[in-house]
Symmetry: D3
Subunit: 135 residues, 6 copies
């Protein structure tokens, strides 16, 4: 029996959008307020979907405590109360758009959770703007 | 990198459900309170999903301000604070059920956003009743 | 033991804001899109607060089923799927602003629930705009 | 025109997770607080998705009142204010994990709604933990 | 500067409403489905409001981590994944209505937080039914 | 007729909590992750309550567009996509705790809206932590 389970988590972080190959004018034109040199921030909401088979002994696809811990160690501890441009080595040379942060989180979680499961990550930057990978 | 972005919007509108080919009795039987000749209304919530490739220069699938403006001009300005039976020429001969209004919105947005992107529209008539196209 | 209980309900209705003593121009200037002659509408969310003493036999301030029924008969059955300007005799000569509809609902409920209890009504026209009486 | 409609419902129930083939120690180790012999409970939120064709006469995929009644009779009346381990004959020998309860609900609803429609059920045990079948 | 801070928490529990001084018939008549001898349950949401003075050194009324811990130790650890009729000594002879559970939580928290602060507790049994003490 | 109206708004900002009179160790001990020198951030949600008399000509306590504009000019334009420690002159020497930011917003809005109305501001730093002034 193939089923999907979902777990929500969240983290608060600062970031700015800035392409170092562009002039300040072009950065301001393209990214607007998101280019503020002093950063701004968000309460990111994360929805992790895991698809796989149910274990008949437990009735679980996966122990939710285990999933919660994987998300905590690999995502929340890395990103919560951090500056996404400065504090996260893996994101150093990556534009911290919601698209790219979502893909980064998916990549970490799919590796940790393993190939028996298909992971999808939805990342809310605000309640009105969000991103999902894979599409 | 193929990804999905989502943007929410909303509009408030009046409507009634009435099939002019039917008797008043049949309309009342089928549509119940939704058939009220004086109209009733909703706060429609709209979720627009766009699937496509991320631009490596910006980290964006699409500038959300651009998407927000397309939704505003083509959906909100057309439907907000309107009567869906009387005020929207494109809906004149169409039953303004959530299904048909959702399809109308999808059709407009898919054309405006263009063939490089796949658009999905979810339309909430109430927090408990909603519709999605394509399925 | 004096305590407060809350019960939520909702109704969907059409309305327009229009002062018949004013010119069409002034109505349009003051009420904008809300003046649309063909009406628009909302999903109204209602929060009813009742303050009183807890009955030691039941542990209830009031049977919630009783409160739910009072709200259904006196508010939902009167306003749901209605046009607030045309279909509700008690609102005929009253501007159906959220303020006035909230006061109308409070007045009905305070009378029906009776003087042993203090009623407060909060009425959401949209999730971002709402009104409470008494203040 | 193939489209999806969604309807939300809810029920409140008690349950415990316990595998009778295991020792009490193993049950406590695997299920933790969820193994409490005296039960605990949840406000389950249910999202039912139905995919099919729109009827051009009504603009409906399906009369939502009909869908609401199917959910009420087959799910809410069976599970609401019940103990999922003791009060539901169909669940007697099944671990009442969210995964298994979701599958049970899907199975009932897909049969009642019939083969012309594709049903998907999402079941929220809490706002942060939920399950969807089919995946 | 007198201000209010709020902190949300939650717990999942089973309960039933039953007055041992009444006949089974009267219990069923008054409490309906809530009288089920095998219990049912809820995801209780808790909102704790604390009013007091802001400390000019920290800008805090109270360290939220301290408040979170007081709620965890005194409310969540006592009530989460429990049966409110059987597992909580302080509630043994008390009808576990939302009103009485709310008052119990307020009483514990007001004592622990101390007389320099005024505590108010709002307890949601469901998103539509909730209680607040003091009123 | 004295009534309350509410309007919601939001802004995204970065901040850090740091008392310059303390050592780095004490700052870390008291503020924990909130002391991160590179900042973190939030989606702040703002609820503005205004109490006053209803104008019988309009049925309004106050034109919501006017209230929305006052909030936009005086709060959103000042704080949105900003660093609360560096970009807001009025907050330069103030610890940007939710308590202090809430009081700052209240002070600006009460002055702009004027003495005929009583303003209350509720500021959500996250959906689980929020503050209200006056209490």
């Amino acid at each position: 029996m193939r089923i999907a389970i979902f777990r929500k988590a969240h983290f608060n972080a600062a970031h700015r959008l800035h392409n170092p190959k562009w002039s300040d004018e072009k950065n301001k034109e393209i990214f607007g307020l998101c280019n503020n040199a002093n950063y701004h921030g968000h309460n990111y909401e994360l929805e992790v979907k895991v698809v796989g088979e149910v274990d008949p002994e437990t009735g679980y696809l996966m122990d939710l405590k285990y999933l919660k811990d994987i998300i905590k160690i690999n995502v929340e501890d890395k990103l919560d109360h951090k500056n996404l441009n400065l504090d996260v080595p893996e994101l150093k040379d990556i534009m911290p758009s919601t698209e790219n942060v979502c893909y980064f989180i998916w990549n970490v979680l799919q590796q940790k959770i393993g190939k028996d499961y298909d992971v999808t990550v939805r990342l809310y930057e605000t309640p009105r703007n969000y991103v999902e990978y894979p599409a």
